[in-house]
């Protein structure tokens, strides 16, 4: 069963990205929505990637999405990471895409289109990371739900 990491390297938070990480600390997955054109923006930006407007509002995501692609890593990038871990690209129902790690599932059970939900975990210090786990219990995945 894939687990969250602890004691991994983290890059500094910037003023632009602080609202996202503050959200994670409180169990919220946040993203920016443009009030001009409606585009969902992630990673954090000062300009809407749809229309270049600066009118961006922080919203709380449903935290639900589907796996677009994934890779199970056996040779960790540095010894700080415990292998295996599963890097994934998740398409959020809110209309944006993000990188994450999958947890709470066997590495061999991950499939394209797997429904997932955000699951926040502290990884040391004050940082809380938005991992994703199966939306439904593993038994239901096996039944193809």
């Amino acid at each position: 069963m894939l687990q969250p990491q602890t004691g991994i390297p983290l890059n500094p938070v910037t003023p632009l990205t602080a609202p996202f990480w503050d959200g994670c600390a409180g169990g919220e997955l946040r993203y920016q929505r443009c009030t001009e054109c409606g585009t969902a923006n992630f990673t954090p930006t000062d300009l809407c990637r749809g229309c270049t407007s600066r009118a961006l509002e922080w919203r709380v995501s449903s935290g639900l999405g589907t796996v677009y692609s994934w890779t199970v890593v056996h040779r960790p990038v540095t010894p700080a990471f415990t292998a295996p871990y599963a890097v994934a690209i998740v398409d959020l129902d809110d209309g944006y895409r993000m990188l994450t790690n999958l947890i709470g599932i066997d590495a061999a059970a991950v499939r394209e289109g797997l429904r997932v939900r955000v699951d926040h975990h502290g990884v040391g210090g004050e940082r809380v990371l938005p991992y994703f786990r199966p939306e439904f219990p593993t038994a239901e995945i096996a039944e193809g739900k």
Binding site: I8, T17, T71, H74, V77, L99, E112, L129
Partner: protein, 391 residues
């Protein structure tokens, strides 16, 4: 075409050189191995440092202008194959007469408990997920397998083909370390699924350089002149900060969203060259990972989307195949000396193929060669075409 006449008609590639490549080059620094490469390429051209009035050497450019006392000189700012097109444009525009394009790295990758430093992104939305270049490119390979049914065996066939070219190349870091079957590739330890160790580029040290000058110097040159027929590049933004894909799209309405990274670049390079895909004799494709070769075959228009895997499995990439690929062993077996030299080395091998001077796996009668660099995992792709005949 935006310009009348060929943009590089009056520019010749006069010299090329690779230094010795090795896992470690004891006693060398990135600057010292780069300078050794510059001397080698100038000697190949029949020129000396006193002739040079332009240099492009990535982050070493300014330092080398000062330390080699090249100033006043033209200074390039590009990377990878873009360095060659930028230098050719500078020569064509009269900004300099003899431009050196060089790159080298040594003594940088010392902590082998971690992956090589140039494979590790530093970004708050990437680093906590344990990403490195292998994982970035694996995400793309996996998606292509989902979309088109591309198989691990097809990936392994690419890796075996390229590694076998390195196996017979006495200048390759992994000379004599084969031969490999696809089963051997799949039997190597897993790194980031679907990639096994032998699906991935190596890490090594070395330098390389090219010399470009005006066409009127051709009678005085020591080597067979080679011509830049066309070059173009596609960028989708900063590498290793956003989720990668082979099917990225932009805002222009002609964007198809089907195996896009490098497609526009290839179309433009071929348009400038005034040739078609079937005119190409050798494909010196950038091979950071086995899947990238399959993807580039599709993006560059040598295969339809989804057909790159079967095309590789049918043997078309072997030295006696329809499109011999990466004939020196590439990044997997010849050398992968850091973040930039290995991109220029695809072009150097293409030049050697067109000259007919390769020490191994020379494709008989090769007149036009394509070189590429970058990849979908890095959100950019570069394409250059080299030929024996002046455009």
């Amino acid at each position: 075409m935006a310009v009348s006449g060929h943009p590089y008609r009056d520019v010749v590639i006069a010299g090329v050189h690779n230094t010795v490549q090795a896992r470690r080059l004891e006693g060398h620094t990135s600057a010292s191995i780069t300078v050794e490469a510059i001397h080698g390429a100038l000697a190949d051209a029949g020129l000396t440092l006193d002739d040079v009035d332009g240099i492009s050497a990535a982050d070493l450019s300014a330092r080398l202008i000062y330390d080699l006392r090249l100033g006043p000189a033209w200074r390039g700012a590009q990377y990878g194959l873009g360095m060659i097109a930028e230098a050719a444009s500078a020569v064509a525009a009269g900004m300099c007469d003899v431009a050196v394009v060089a790159s080298g790295e040594a003594g940088i990758y010392t902590d082998h408990a971690a992956t090589a430093p140039w494979t590790r992104p530093e970004n708050e939305f990437v680093i906590p997920w344990g990403l490195f270049t292998t994982a970035e490119f694996a995400l793309i390979a996996r998606r292509h397998m989902i979309e088109y049914g591309t198989t691990e065996d097809q990936l392994a066939t690419v890796a075996a083909t390229i590694r076998n070219n390195g196996h017979v190349n006495p200048e390759a870091v992994y000379y004599g370390r084969g031969p490999f079957t696809p089963a051997d590739i799949r039997a190597s330890r897993p790194i980031a699924e679907p990639f096994h160790l032998l699906d991935c580029a190596t890490t090594s040290e070395g330098g390389c350089a090219l010399v470009l000058t005006t066409a009127d110097r051709v009678p005085d040159l020591a080597a067979t002149p080679v011509w830049l027929l066309g070059m173009a590049a596609d960028s989708y933004g900063p590498a290793y900060q956003h989720p990668p894909g082979y099917d990225l799209t932009g805002r222009r309405p002609d964007d198809t969203g089907v195996v896009t990274v490098g497609r526009r670049a290839a179309d433009r390079a071929f348009r400038t060259a005034g040739i078609g895909r079937t005119d190409v004799d050798v494909l010196e494709l950038y091979d950071p990972f086995s899947f990238e070769v399959i993807r580039q075959l599709e993006a560059f228009g040598f295969c339809e989307p989804g057909e790159g895997g079967p095309f590789a499995a049918e043997g078309h990439l072997a030295p006696d195949g329809k499109y011999p690929v990466t004939t020196d062993g590439g990044l997997m077996s010849y050398s992968h000396a850091g973040s930039n030299p290995q991109m220029l080395q695809r072009a150097i091998r293409a030049v050697q193929q067109v000259r007919g001077t390769c020490v191994s796996t020379q494709i008989p009668g090769a007149e036009i060669a394509l070189a590429s660099a970058g990849g979908s995992g890095a959100l950019f792709n570069q394409v250059a075409l080299f030929g024996k005949e002046r455009p």
